[in-house]
Symmetry: C2
Subunit: 341 residues, 2 copies
């Protein structure tokens, strides 16, 4: 047995129960490929995302947090399609070194990864472990009813623009940590009247460490929303992609942007807006819908336990604009995550 | 537009024709996830493999060869299940640096990746590009008829052990290149009577650079073979995994191991056998079948254009043994690729 097979055996033992429970995993981890039984009459939805050490997570991040986030980023992509996740594969590159340290890392990684997988009943069905710089590549597979996917290219002029939850918390945590591209937005200590500084900081960091993919919200929007995308690179960047794909533009009402109490306590207005519009790693959903659907959407999202707000409107003029409460245009200092900036 | 989106646009433009042609790609590259239409009545087959620079390919390997090999390794996993490949995703991590150099690399990578994809009508439907040490993670999806997959755990005592093509060529190329773990097997210059040295070396390196996944052979074996695995880590290692999964053992007849003329020219007998048994990167199929199926298998593989040989027998005693022509046991110096040795 090589060490790779020990690591795979470790992951396999912990992933087996969920694969058995689903009933649609014919053959899981341990062969050349997984055998799966898709439900009839549904489209298959597939997303892949890689997280690299020092780029998508700090080199000293906890193994369990890396595992959680690697799956969360992928589940968020499926949520943005309105899809129900079912299965995933995991490819884990680990540096050479002491076998015991590798096993400890994999145990911790599996803690976070499989905790989130269990919450969404996603079975880990295959993958590999290889030697290399620390990197995680996850592919998630799921289903959606034909015609019900929330595509990026389906927005229409005069659609409402909605966003779930609150924006900017993960970016504020990066700012508090002094990360490049963020540190200029942490303009004051956390000392708001209604926020305990330590609690507020912990909440912001929790959003960064353990993002909650909006799977239930994505499912609740089927048949109600038109276009959707997840906010992983920052609202302006991601809404920008949606607008380009749909051949439209947008104006965002800055005063309507949802902020957590922790974020409001941590930042002055300009920094808060900059993080809400340009901070990455939020993993909320941004979607568009006809204004006629406002009540049904509010009810359906409330039933799924998801807060959401209308924050702007789709327009014919290309580009994404931001208006302040007095109607003045506002130019944000940061437009979103630049992968190769 | 960030540079990531330029790279994705580049790949998307080149991948679009094949996705359109298949007719089962509802939505390909460019959204949060791909939308796919699986055929009714088939099982879905999924495999993921990562190739890291300096581990799975040389740091100075050609971009087109990296692209080819990343897809080939995954198609080989599907071939080993008897599956028909259909779709794939690609996650490409690229070092920071000059954007023009990155675009040149991606163009070359796409040349090799999409050339092989076109041969097997596999549509590239999604993925991402991220910043990080050079690494490629590919997930391949395909189909197999329920009950027809070649699993690792299906071998039975007295089954024939077969192997497609020839073994050891890729290992010999690594030996000629002086790679750690291989260089001790390059025991003589290529100067065989019937082989031009430059031609033989080129053929061995071609096997390493451009492995041919045995997709047609895997399909030809459905309903005929019992258990199957692809030979990526070396025959002894991979047959060993198959035996463990099936709860059996095996004896290999060293004299029956298939060798290319180039390999025979490059190596003395012991080195040749060591490479045939322990060299990685061959991507041939090793499978087991009832001796009653010998003729039907030979006919079906011949019809698929695949050479194949019986090289041994499944036995009850655990472990994989090697016998020489005189019946003596032979202990190979190398048992296969150790991922964390």
């Amino acid at each position: 047995m090589t060490a790779e097979f020990d690591l795979i055996a470790l992951i396999r033992a912990r992933a087996a129960a969920l694969a058995d429970e689903r009933g649609d995993v014919v053959l899981g981890i341990g062969d050349d490929a997984a055998l799966l039984a898709p439900p009839p009459g549904r489209q298959l939805v597939a997303a892949t995302d890689t997280l690299n050490s020092g780029v998508h997570f700090a080199a000293d991040a906890r193994a369990a947090d890396i595992g959680w986030k690697a799956l969360a980023a992928n589940l968020s992509d499926l949520a943005a399609m309105g899809a129900e996740p079912a299965w995933c594969t995991l490819s884990l590159s680990l540096p050479a070194g002491e076998a015991a340290a590798r096993a400890t890392f994999v145990e911790g990684f599996a803690d976070g990864f499989l905790e989130l997988a269990a919450r969404h009943r996603v079975a880990l069905v295959g993958g590999d472990t290889t030697r290399g710089p620390l990197s995680v590549c996850v592919t998630v597979l799921g289903f959606v009813e034909p015609g019900w996917a929330l595509r990026r290219d389906a927005a229409r002029v005069d659609d409402d623009i909605w966003v779930t939850g609150t924006l900017g918390d993960a970016g504020a945590a990066l700012a508090l940590d002094g990360i490049d591209g963020y540190r200029e937005f942490a303009v004051r200590r956390i000392d708001g009247v209604d926020a305990d500084p330590a609690v507020a900081s912990a909440r912001l960091h929790e959003r960064l460490r353990r993002p909650q993919p909006r799977v239930a919200a994505g499912r609740a929007l089927r048949g109600l929303a038109r276009a959707g995308i997840d906010v992983s690179d920052g609202l302006l960047a991601d809404l920008g992609h949606l607008c380009v794909a749909s051949g439209v533009g947008a104006t965002i009402d800055a005063a309507a942007l949802p902020a957590s109490r922790a974020l409001a306590a941590a930042c002055a207005d300009d920094a808060r807006r900059a993080l809400q519009l340009g901070g990455g790693d939020d993993y909320e959903l941004c979607f568009t819908a006809s204004p006629n659907q406002r009540d049904p959407i509010a009810r359906s999202l409330a039933a799924s336990g998801t807060p959401a707000k209308v924050i702007g409107r789709i327009q014919a003029e290309p580009g994404v604009r931001v208006r302040l409460a007095d109607g003045a245009a506002w130019t944000p200092p940061r437009r979103g995550y630049q992968h190769f900036a």
